[in-house]
Symmetry: C2
Subunit: 259 residues, 2 copies
């Protein structure tokens, strides 16, 4: 990464361009760091240069770098550790294992329970239908990977999920690989495909169990279930996964925090 264009902030410089609005220096620094993250200059789990180093590199004060990093840390892209450094966030850490899974047992919490038992039902290539293509920003008919899996807690199947992934970036993804990997699926995406999910949107509905899913979750045919449709984004707001989860909520619930 290099300074392709000088960092400017003066009224004269801004007046030259059309209407680039006012952009604080620290936002420009933030964008530069973001570029480094996208380009893979620093990999998930690794440390980025110290604030002093970055300040020297970008020719700004440490405080300006600090403010840029502050925002990236608030967005969970970076992780600050006092006395050690600033690290690229990753889904591999035990601590954030269930950051994207909001299902909780009605009593207790997921962390204290053992890890979920996972079973891959299938993993296959197919052509994206209109809905999947639109969600992933692909041309209709493009090849996608569809994965179906079931998660169980204490032997009780609780979640049935379908994932649709663009076949290009996920070249080589196989059922064996999914079954062999020990850890969060998003951690596998990071280590095997260099794809880090940074944000997601979920749409939740109450639905009736469809026959095949009802069988997998061992519930009666018309049981009420939670449908959780997720679009996950990688850097640059690029959609990289469509996921539809069906959750049993007789012993669990979807938690959410409002503020």
């Amino acid at each position: 990464m290099s300074l392709s264009s000088p960092l400017v902030n003066t009224a004269e410089a801004l007046a030259d361009a059309a209407a680039p609005a006012f952009s604080p220096l620290y936002q420009q620094i933030k964008a530069l760091i973001l570029q480094g993250l996208q380009a893979g200059e620093w990999k998930p789990g690794e440390a980025i240069p110290s604030e002093m180093d970055l300040a020297a590199r970008f020719k700004v004060s440490q405080g300006t770098v600090r403010k840029a990093i502050d925002e990236l840390a608030a967005e969970n892209l970076l992780l600050r550790r006092q006395g050690k450094g600033t690290f690229v966030a990753t889904h591999s850490e035990r601590q954030v294992r269930y950051r994207f899974l909001h299902l909780q047992p009605d009593e207790g919490d997921l962390q204290s329970q053992g890890p979920a038992e996972r079973q891959i039902v299938f993993c296959k290539r197919l052509r994206a239908n209109a809905k999947v293509a639109r969600a992933l920003g692909l041309p209709s008919g493009e090849t996608v990977v569809q994965v179906r899996r079931v998660l169980a807690f204490h032997g009780v199947p609780t979640i049935c999920e379908d994932l649709w992934l663009p076949a290009g970036p996920f070249k080589g993804l196989s059922q064996e690989q999914l079954e062999a990997f020990n850890g969060p699926m998003y951690a596998l995406f990071e280590s095997e495909f260099g794809l880090r999910m940074v944000r997601a949107e979920e749409k939740i509905k109450a639905v009736h169990a469809e026959p095949d899913v009802a069988a997998l979750l061992q519930v009666e045919a018309h049981a009420p279930l939670l449908s959780v449709e997720r679009i996950a984004f990688t850097y640059n707001q690029q959609p990289m996964e469509l996921r539809r989860g069906i959750y049993r909520t007789d012993t669990h619930h979807y938690r959410n925090e409002l503020s």
Copy 2:
């Protein structure tokens, strides 16, 4: 508000006390501002003193006050407006009208549609059962107000909510008052009872419609519906409302943002 105790930060001072850990100055300032908010020194919608004024009052630099206010603004307790001042957040603003309501039409969004049609089914006093008492942190059997209301969009009843409120803080709340008030219910709580909801936790499940609710929402007896159970907190993490909403999700969905 006054400085009842001096702001300290030195190693010697900390060593004196038992084990108060290290508390940055700006956290102490934040706590002091929070006290002012709780005490009602500045009311929702009003401006708090300028950063310079607060810095002078607390005998710290403007930057320290700034960092304290930054965090309070990030928590949606304060609202900064450049060139104007810093204001106590309120639920009355058009902009945050649906901050706590995550239901969205599958096409379009709530903001662009007109306001919901509201109907109060009842508003009555009764004794809290164990569950309500626990949620509100009250002794079992304490008097609470229960409100039931139905929200409709374009004439279609979509939400049926039950609210349980501690009768003490909500002394005088009546069905007429609820029906007369034009605006978000939390705005009424602010203006009439001086109670501001700052945070909430929701637990979501898929359920079957119960007969009475099914009738209100005009759905068949066993339709799958979303159950949204909310505990809302005022300052100081004090629970002040238990709410159970039943949402139709045939044309709407519950949205959530993960990061």
